[in-house]
Amino acid sequence: MATVETDTVTLSINDREVTVPKGMSLVEAAAEAGIEVPVFCYEPRLGAAVGACRMCLVEIEGIPKLQTACTTPVTDGMVVHSHSDRAREGQDAVLEFLLINHPLDCPICDKGGECPLQDLTFRYGPGSTRMTLPKRTHTKPVPISPLIKLDRERCILCYRCTRFSEDVSGDLQLVTEHRGANSIITTFEGRPYDGEFSGNVTELCPVGALTSISYRFRGRPWEIQNIPTVCGECPIGCNTYATIREGQVARVLSRNNPAVDDGWLCDRGRYTFPSLESEQRITTPLIRGGRGLEPVDGSTALDHIADRLRAAVERFGPGSVAIIASGDQTSEEAHLWARIQEQALGGGPIVCGPEGGAGWGELAAHSATIADLDDADLIVVAGATDLVHRAPILELRIRRAVDRGARVVTIGAGATRLDTLHAAEHVSAAPGTTHAALLAASQGVALKGLSDRSVILWNGRMSAPVATVLAHVAHASGCRVLPTPLAANELGCQAAGLGTHTPAEALEAVEQGRVKAVVLLGADPVGGWPGGDRWRGLMERAFFALQVSPFQTGSSGWATTIVPSPMPLEKEGTMTNIEGRVQRLRAAVPPPPGVLDGIVLAAELGRRLGLDMPDQPPAVFADMAGSRAAFAGLTWAGIGERGVRPEPASGSGQAPPAPHVAEGEPEGTIVVGYRQLMSGPTVEGAPALHFQRRSGIEISHDDAQQIGVATGDRVEVSFAGASLTGAALVQRRLRRGVVRLATAVPYVGPGELRAAPEETADA
């Protein structure tokens, strides 16, 4: 929407005239005029400027004192000098003061060479020292968590990190202790900084005070390369740089895309790269023979797979091969595998992800963008668990929207972090009936005001009934919908044809005997999908069971052939994120020797099955754009650095069918097992992250009273034929009857809760 800018002011900065919107700060206005005003504490993503570091002192005619450009709003006719002798004197003074205590250990500092303090000292600071006093010393470095170390001597007390913790992530864990020259940054009560977004402070730090332990002493800026790519850990697709040193990924940084991530990353995205070198990775194709899995070379494996697949189709007929994908594939890989299934194997079922979401098409016309959250007046978050587990970085955007005045209504089981946001409203809903509660709320007072400036975030599994409700509500109110697929490229895979059946439909086909061979693409249905036993049954009976995966998983034991696959940081291709934005992955490093590129693997297999398929990413993309409607009109070159979001299909404009939701609420205990953010094979391969895992079995206050347990007491939960014992975590705000816990296999359904006997030493 184009707005006509009428509220502008014109001012002069360093004799350059510039016209900018009213209310803008001098720092921003100077940037508009192409003038750099040096800053340390100023960072607009942290909220209003605070004017703490005083680095941005400038001279304004008519004001006797120098003023901080970050906190000074522009006014009409203002005459500003940022390079005058007086301004330079002020800037020089601030830098000299900052350097009084700075150790100047730049030669061994990880920040050296990419350090704002170095750069600004070079440009604005004193050329020599007049230091007459000993520098302040501290014990250093101090680990503030298994991920981050703090060097308090390097710290210039700009308070960016504490502002992040307080105002952006809201975890309130980084604090300042003492005062004046004795001020130090520390964690609350000295506990480890345990928050899903903690790593951002290492990037915010303008000196080498907060550093990622995984990058300490690993590289110098002149011997690294930053490869622009996209995080493949979840469907937000935060834009990243992978820093490469000597052929290895040394760190992951944010590559600020305001439309997607706003320059923030979650710790899973930032710190799982060590899993690239995990011992658990498969690095050679394996074929099960008389003595178990035996390594073979790639070509042998491909010949074998082609032969088995061809044999399956010949023996059991077309459509007898099922593809079970994780949804983490690039769209190009997905497209080629879908072509193999469609054109060479006779079109058997394809499942995409354990939720195998259905109903995306119904929602396309109502699709919201991530940036829509910024302008939303009402944000509805519907789901039974914390949003952070499915769409981590969105939490920060919602927090900011609330700071700007947006209303938040959560619908679900309660006791989520968003419930505690300032002025958040909550509608309690039994897990499994959240969509029904949403529908009711949209027709009642709870969601009064739902309009075209509102966004509904569906924080849960997508299914046909849910999609129907969402489409109905969106159509009636004009609001937009942002669903949260589980897998990183679930939307792209589906759009590329990899995803024709829900898991339930596929299992039905299996059990009707229509499926005789199975290809697991990254998926681990035996170990991590609902209905694991039934999947195992399929694999046990399968004529041929191929697993394509970077890691050995719970399904590997039943695979007859295993082919290693690359991980997202090793891939060229595209992924489609939560809002439908197609983004480029760039291979930061090559896959380990013995691991075939995912596209080459599919193309080579296709060739052996008689298909003529391209094996270069741009060509595959073109092939895909030519045959898949969702990619029509897109070009490889047109994706660019920021991705491209094709205009969603506008829909018919017709009212969607009225949803029919089951009346009544489930009886008894409902267990919500969710896949937590810090889980999965990549997290397994990054041990430093494990301290962030959430443990404990969340139970409501009422239930705790009823069975007579308190937080920390052992409770036993049985569900889906299994039982699990752990420490209770009593949540006052959790809905009665709901038991919530992190599980490997997502589950929402009936269960039982009871107090467990204390473990005894000799038990």
């Binding site: 400027a49 605070v50 004017g51 703490a52 570091c53 005083r54 680095m55 002192l57 006797p64 004192k65 120098l66 901080t68 906190t71 709003p73 004197e89 002020g90 003074a93 601030v94 000299e96 003061f97 900052l98 009084i100 205590n101 007049r130 007459t132 006093l133 302040r136 010393t137 501290h138 014990t139 210039i156 007390l157 308070y159 300042t176 003492h178 005062r179 004046g180 020259a181 004795n182 001020s183 130090i184």
Partner: protein, 435 residues
């Protein structure tokens, strides 16, 4: 010109008991104000020309007029965090005339449309806190504070909040942060508290003495109050006289008096035939005046014209035994210790400055460091987030400027020529560094 006109403390003993205060005419102005329009209160205060008695001397009526009329809630905050070294006037007002403060608070709250007032009292003022608590309780019982004050329909809540021992919380935005439960650190202005103060609501922050004067202003009428004092400094002011004088204490004087009338007349001059070396005219953050400036008037403009500031009204007399380097060390150490650490020049500059002064006193400084000290002061001055850094830089620079030879002798002779003869010798200390 008479120098014995007193308004706030025009009685012997105290009026802690509400009966004493009421018998002296107390709470009548509140009663009258509640019967009229809130704007009348502000108009009278504005007409009196009274300027803030905390230190900055901003016209109180104008400050109140900055509050947007249409935004509610609005708050009144009372700055009772009197901490400037040498200043002890507010404590006397609170101890002897607490109901004048309470009446002023309720009246002013009514004037600005606030239904909640917060008195932020210095944590060390335990006795004053107790007195105010008792006085507030009496006022509540008599219906001057609480819901539906005197049946007027106006509700007034007063919260008495004790500080936790930070000088910086006397800075109005730091006071607000501290009240909110945040770290007591100043905020960048704008926005000013009048627009976004306590809990981001329009807030008026006034000093104890200012608010305690309000009932008297209403009693006399703004115009009559404005008769007292000079062209731009109206009314009387309570001055805290200390240092080497015969009769230190609080003296309420009209703003037409001179330093000589205060120091020699009320204070009895210097004891034991000592000669005066310097005068600190407005709290320890004020640059010094020299003995030949003793005839300076004590109004805001005259002291400013003499090269200093009227500040908090604390006048400290320095005699000839005093080592100015030791004085600089004590003053600068105070500000270093109280620096909140938020902004760079104050946090680092006060530390650097103290270190240079200490080495000058110890005889460890090198030639040239006096200019370095002046330059460090100059680089703090005007570059900080709040006035605390200036509060160290201004006096220290003035000591060096007026007594450069004395500072230089320390360097030349490798030590302090005054040593233990100075009355403040050895009183400074280095607070243990926190590791």
């Amino acid at each position: 010109m008479t120098t014995d006109l007193r308004i706030l403390l025009d009685f012997d003993g105290d009026r802690r008991d509400i009966g004493d205060y009421e018998r002296a005419g107390g709470y009548r102005q509140l009663t009258k104000a509640l019967a009229g329009a809130p704007e009348d209160v502000i108009a009278a205060v504005d007409g009196s020309g009274i300027r803030g008695r905390g230190g900055a001397g901003f016209p109180t009526g104008r400050k109140a007029s900055f509050l947007p009329k249409d935004r509610k809630p609005a708050y009144l905050c009372v700055n009772a965090d009197e901490s400037e070294p040498g200043t002890f006037k507010d404590r006397e007002i609170m101890l002897r005339n607490p109901h004048a403060l309470i009446e002023g608070v309720i009246t002013m709250s009514f004037g600005i449309g606030a239904t909640s007032a917060f008195i932020y009292i210095r944590g060390e003022y335990r006795a004053e806190f107790e007195v105010l608590m008792t006085a507030l309780q009496q006022a509540r019982e008599r219906g001057f504070v609480g819901a539906d004050v005197l049946g007027s329909g106006y509700d007034a809540t007063v919260v008495l909040h004790r500080g936790a021992g930070a000088y910086i919380c006397g800075e109005e935005t730091a006071l607000l942060s501290s009240l909110e439960g945040e770290r007591g650190q100043p905020r960048s202005k704008p926005p000013f508290p009048a627009v976004a103060g306590l809990y981001a609501a329009p807030t008026l922050v006034n000093n104890v003495e200012t608010l305690a004067s309000v009932p008297y202003i209403l009693e006399m009428g703004g115009a009559a109050y404005a008769e007292i004092g000079t062209e731009r400094s109206k009314g009387t002011r309570v001055f805290s006289l200390s240092g080497n004088v015969k009769r230190p204490g609080n003296y309420e004087l009209p703003l037409t008096a001179t330093l000589r009338e205060l120091i020699e007349g009320h204070g009895g001059g210097m004891p034991d035939g000592r000669t005066m070396k310097a005068i600190i005219p407005g709290g320890s953050s004020a640059p010094i005046l020299m003995p030949d400036q003793i005839d300076t008037h004590i109004d805001f403009e005259s002291i400013a014209a003499a090269g200093s500031m009227a500040g908090s009204g604390a006048i400290i007399v320095i005699d000839d035994r005093t080592c100015m380097v030791q004085l600089a060390l004590r003053v600068s150490e105070f500000y270093k210790h109280e620096s909140c650490g938020k902004c760079t020049p104050c946090r680092e500059g006060t530390r650097w400055g103290v270190d240079i002064i200490r080495r000058i006193e110890m005889g460890e400084a090198r030639q040239g460091e006096l200019d370095l000290l002046l330059n460090v002061c100059d680089r703090i001055l005007g570059n900080c987030l709040c006035p605390l850094g200036d509060a160290m830089a201004m006096p220290v620079a003035s000591y060096v400027t007026h007594f450069r030879d004395e500072f230089q002798r320390h360097i030349d002779e490798g030590g302090c020529p005054f040593t233990e003869h100075s009355p403040i010798s050895g009183l400074y200390h280095e607070p243990a560094a926190v590791s």
